[in-house]
C-alpha cells in the first residue's frame, strides 16, 4: 500500500531533491522534480509557486525553461523540517 504523505512531507521531499539531488548546477527542472518527488504536475506547480514566493526556492530561467534551486532560507527551513520531523516521530506523529 502506498504511504500517505502530508503536504509538509511533499514540500520536504521537493526541497531535499533541490538540495541533494540536482541534475546540474542550474537547478532541477519541473519534470525532474515530478519524477523525484512523485507528484502530479498540477499539484507541484502550485507548491513550487508558493515555495518561490516564500523565498525557499529560487527560480532560474535557463534558455526558455524554468529550473529551481534551493535558497539559503530554503536550506534553513529544510534543516528545521528534518529536526522537527524527528521530534514529531518521537510522538508517533508526522509533521
Amino acid at each position: 500500500m502506498a504511504e500517505y504523505r502530508t503536504h509538509m512531507k511533499i514540500i520536504g521531499d521537493i526541497l531535499s531533491t533541490t538540495r541533494d539531488d540536482l541534475q546540474d548546477e542550474d537547478g532541477a527542472s519541473v519534470t525532474y522534480l515530478i519524477r523525484k518527488a512523485n507528484i502530479s504536475h498540477s499539484r507541484i506547480s502550485a507548491i513550487l509557486k508558493t515555495l518561490v514566493s516564500q523565498g525557499l526556492l529560487e527560480k532560474v530561467d535557463n534558455q526558455g525553461s524554468n529550473k529551481y534551486k534551493i535558497s539559503q532560507p530554503g536550506r534553513e527551513f529544510l534543516q528545521a523540517y528534518n529536526t522537527f520531523t524527528n521530534f514529531a516521530d518521537n510522538f508517533g506523529l508526522s509533521i
Binding site: 534543516q79 528545521a80 524527528n86 521530534f87 514529531a88 516521530d89 508517533g92 506523529l93
Partner: protein
C-alpha cells in the same frame, strides 16, 4: 511525604510540559506544521494544569493553611491537563471516535452540569486515563512501523501517566493507602520518560524565524 511528592510531581510536570511546549512552538513557527501546533497546545495545557495544582498547594501551605488543597483548584488543574491529553490523542486522529449524531453530542454535555466538583475531578481523571492509553497505544504502533526508539520512551511515558491517573482515581476507594503516593511516583517516572527522547533533539542550529508564515 504526600505533600512533598505532590510538589515534585507538579513542578516536574510544569517544567517538562513547558519544555516540550516551547520546543513544539519553535517547530511550529519554523515549519508551520499543524501537528506541531496541536502538540504546542497539548503540552502548554499540561504545563499550565500542573502549575495550577502546584499553585493551589502553595496557597494552602503559605496562605490558607487549611491542611488540604481547595477542591476546585485541583479539579481545574486536572481539567486543563485533560485538554492537553486530548490534543495528544487528537493528533492520533481520535476524531474518528466522536459520536456522529448531534443528539449524542448534546446529551454528552449534560452530565457535566449534574455533578459536583468532586465527581468532576474523577470524570476528568477517567477521561485522561482513556486519552493517555489511546496515545500510548498509537505511539507504540508507530514504533512498530518506523522503529524510532524515541517513540518507545514516549509510549512508556504516556502509559505510566495513564497508570498513575488510574491509581490516583482508584485511591478514592482506599483514601489512606499507598495507592496515591504510588500514583504520583509513577507519574513522575512517566514525565521523565516523556522528556528523554525530546531532550535529545538537536536544536543548536535552529533559529527562530520571525518572517516565515
Amino acid at each position: 511525604m504526600e505533600f512533598l511528592l505532590e510538589n515534585i510531581l507538579n513542578l516536574v510536570g510544569f517544567l517538562v510540559g513547558l519544555a516540550i511546549g516551547i520546543m513544539s512552538y519553535v517547530g511550529f513557527r519554523n515549519t508551520g506544521s499543524p501537528t506541531l501546533f496541536r502538540l504546542t497546545i497539548a503540552f502548554f495545557s499540561i504545563s499550565i494544569g500542573f502549575f495550577v495544582i502546584w499553585s493551589g498547594y502553595m496557597v494552602e501551605d503559605f496562605v490558607t493553611k487549611s491542611g488540604t488543597i481547595e477542591r476546585w483548584i485541583q479539579t481545574l488543574g486536572i481539567a486543563i491537563q485533560t485538554v492537553g491529553y486530548f490534543f495528544i490523542a487528537f493528533s492520533h486522529s481520535i476524531k474518528s471516535f466522536f459520536p456522529k449524531s448531534s443528539y449524542f453530542r448534546s446529551v454528552g454535555i449534560i452530565p457535566l452540569f449534574l455533578v459536583s466538583s468532586v465527581q468532576l475531578e474523577h470524570i476528568f481523571r477517567s477521561v485522561s486515563f482513556i486519552l493517555l492509553v489511546y496515545g500510548a497505544i498509537e505511539t507504540m504502533l508507530s514504533y512498530l512501523e518506523n522503529r524510532n526508539k524515541g517513540a518507545i520512551s514516549v509510549s512508556v511515558g504516556l502509559g505510566l501517566l495513564a497508570l498513575g491517573e488510574f491509581l490516583g482515581w482508584y485511591s478514592f476507594v482506599f483514601p489512606d493507602s499507598i495507592l496515591y503516593p504510588a500514583s504520583m511516583i509513577i507519574k513522575i517516572g512517566g514525565l521523565i520518560a516523556l522528556f528523554i527522547p525530546v531532550s535529545k533533539v538537536p536544536l543548536t542550529k535552529i533559529k527562530f524565524d520571525e518572517d516565515f508564515e
